[in-house]
Assembly symmetry: C2
Homo-oligomer: 468 residues x 2
Amino acid sequence: MRPDLVVDVPLDLPADSRPLPVRICEGMRELIMDGVLAPGDHLPSTRALSAQLAVSRGTVVASYEQLEAEGYLVASSGSGTQVNLDLRGLHRRSATPTPPPPPRHHHGIDLTPGAPDTSGLANSAWRSAWRRACVQPRRITDPLGSPRLRHEIAEHLRQMRSLLADPRHVVVTGGARAGLAELIQVLCDGSGCLTVGVESPGYPSLRKVPTALGHRIIGLPTDDQGLDPDGLPTGGDARNVDAVLVTPSHQYPWGGSLSASRRAAVIEWAESAGCWIIEDDFDSELRHVGAPLPALASLDAQHTIVLGTFSSVLTPALGCGYLVVPPELVGPFARQRQATGQPVAAIVQEAVADYLSTGALRRRTQRMRQVYRRRRDTVIDILGSVPGATLQPIDGGLHAVLRVDGCEEEVVEGCRREGVGVTPLSTYWGSTDADAAGIVLGFGSHDDDTLAAALTTIARVVADRTGS
Amino acid sequence: MRPDLVVDVPLDLPADSRPLPVRICEGMRELIMDGVLAPGDHLPSTRALSAQLAVSRGTVVASYEQLEAEGYLVASSGSGTQVNLDLRGLHRRSATPTPPPPPRHHHGIDLTPGAPDTSGLANSAWRSAWRRACVQPRRITDPLGSPRLRHEIAEHLRQMRSLLADPRHVVVTGGARAGLAELIQVLCDGSGCLTVGVESPGYPSLRKVPTALGHRIIGLPTDDQGLDPDGLPTGGDARNVDAVLVTPSHQYPWGGSLSASRRAAVIEWAESAGCWIIEDDFDSELRHVGAPLPALASLDAQHTIVLGTFSSVLTPALGCGYLVVPPELVGPFARQRQATGQPVAAIVQEAVADYLSTGALRRRTQRMRQVYRRRRDTVIDILGSVPGATLQPIDGGLHAVLRVDGCEEEVVEGCRREGVGVTPLSTYWGSTDADAAGIVLGFGSHDDDTLAAALTTIARVVADRTGS
């Protein structure tokens, strides 16, 4: 008998004049045929069920014996009474269907952007952080997140981004998209529809968030140096914009970074427009060329909100990121969180804080920078001079954009036939003015040899096409 | 030298005619005095910094030597060049402040409701689930959550709640509040303000969610059998209600559960009003008396949405719950998730799925039911017949409500002086008609002896007060 694995039997006996065992048997047959009780389920002991139904134990014993005789139940010494396994497939309704098989493995090399290399992540610092966190998670009472984690994030930003953030202004979020969604709720404060300016073309994933929440987006022009301050709305149009979402360190998909003078111009514009700047800092730790650029938030802490995530430097499976908000948003954020709760599990917050506190993230980031720089150089070596194509600069991050003459679908399809998955640039284009054909490829997640093989295939597909 | 722990040095050299080492030294002093570089930070090697600045290595060597002479930097064999530790406290702005000390331990017994007993949770099944999940998390491509976890949740609902749910209708959420917040976004679909009916009095935490998101709540009358169907809005008022939030298995704070006839009446009302029922199932696995009651969702799968969480049966530190939604909401939910992303980290989903698949949650729930029933009996033994007070029924869950004659603040304060923390009932009261004074106490989290001691104190405080 394994009383620790029995199912609940939700018997609701009809109040009629038939004998109790008849009514119990009828109810049990219904539960079995409806799939509420499934073949193999262990039933409660006769003692437990008689207590539940407030009938004598003998009544339940008689009912079980009747149902065993009918083949619904099976009694076996050592494991109590079970629903007969032979009844599988006889249900009127099926019980929980079996889970779908995992998606079939794509044969080939998938270069969909967004995936970092997670090999070597699960070292002893990582495993011991999770072990400690899952065994004894601390209760987090601060609505903005674990004070320890917020301190570690501020320290991380100082060391990796040269950004001085007060830990009290750091908010732990469920990653970039979740953080943006929460931020928009706070900025909106329950009153109507916000207007959010987004780079056009720009990163496709974040721009969907405002519209999914019922707000409005407007496109802001970009070029290969990022957001173009000269194209920002002016006058009354500017004052109607509530926030702009900017990627200063690594514009998507152009690849360039915002110059110091453009940074100053954007900040000046936001001040005069009374508008928030949301600084998407998603992979700024992974910069490949030149000196690190100052974050917008370090130039202007009154209007700029940093939107960060650990997805690129650790793994998207962590679902953890952060915001650094100006002081005046701390209170409204805390109030909203008091209603909606912590978005990141205490176990996760504890594990990340523990991992960061050992310096393991700094070590990993600095190691991965070397790895990614090497892979970026491989991309430039192989794709930098393919006839009929132009490789955009790769100042940072984990993806490259190869603009091609002619039809991008032809290239995507050609690569697919050769077993390499790349993404058409048009899906990354926010504007309707999609005059640039091309492909986007992530170079982060595969080892060097696999990457080189995939890139060589792409170069051949592109060159063959233009050569013919 | 530990090149894996160096900081970034965001030097931006002024383009003037002074010698390079002068400009480098000036920039470094600024970074140190501003706190961007902190005492103890390891600087990049002269080779690395000269490459970053595109200057000769000798220039950087000269600059480092100058700054060492000035006391800003310290060179030590074996650990490269560091910012001088003696500079602590000399910053104009401080670097990351030290984290706040953890909150002081409350001396006494805190009976704030909502905390389950987590002792014994971290057994081998739990630890190995986290170990596996953190080392190799699978990528989750389905916006509604891990198919494996959704299957396990459906199986859990069948076994523990006798609710047959199709795994494709199960949505993994960040817990009850986060799930409700997402659900409201989906129901609203970006169009204006919803009206959500909430039990009054009712559970205080969930009712804050609609208003925090800019929606409207209206109170629905309850009594000791839960929601009163006779008090539901009629006619045009009913059609203006978009959703009602109902706790059929365990009304908060009354403690009762909704009778079969009331369940039918609520469903009939929702059908005629064209209104969603949100079934708050937060601790329905922990039922103390009688046969399990059928979930509203098992009586009506077209209008009823199940809102569930693992907080009560496992730990709130997990931040994981679920919704079971009618088929017509599956598509809208998936579309919203495509914009806002997964709210629960893949590592957490993987760990919970693994833990559930071993049967460990069923074993734990059945064991904890025994523990909580015993503690509930202790509450009834000690507080069931205190003069001047009435203990509400405790059909399920982890808290009790003791209504008291006279002033509840006096009781709360009296208990506090004796080292027992209880919550005034008025904070749990959603309506302004707060005619019932009383206290709410959680009996889940403390061991039997501690609980009995706290309850005896409460009984004495209440009796002394009314006796005097």
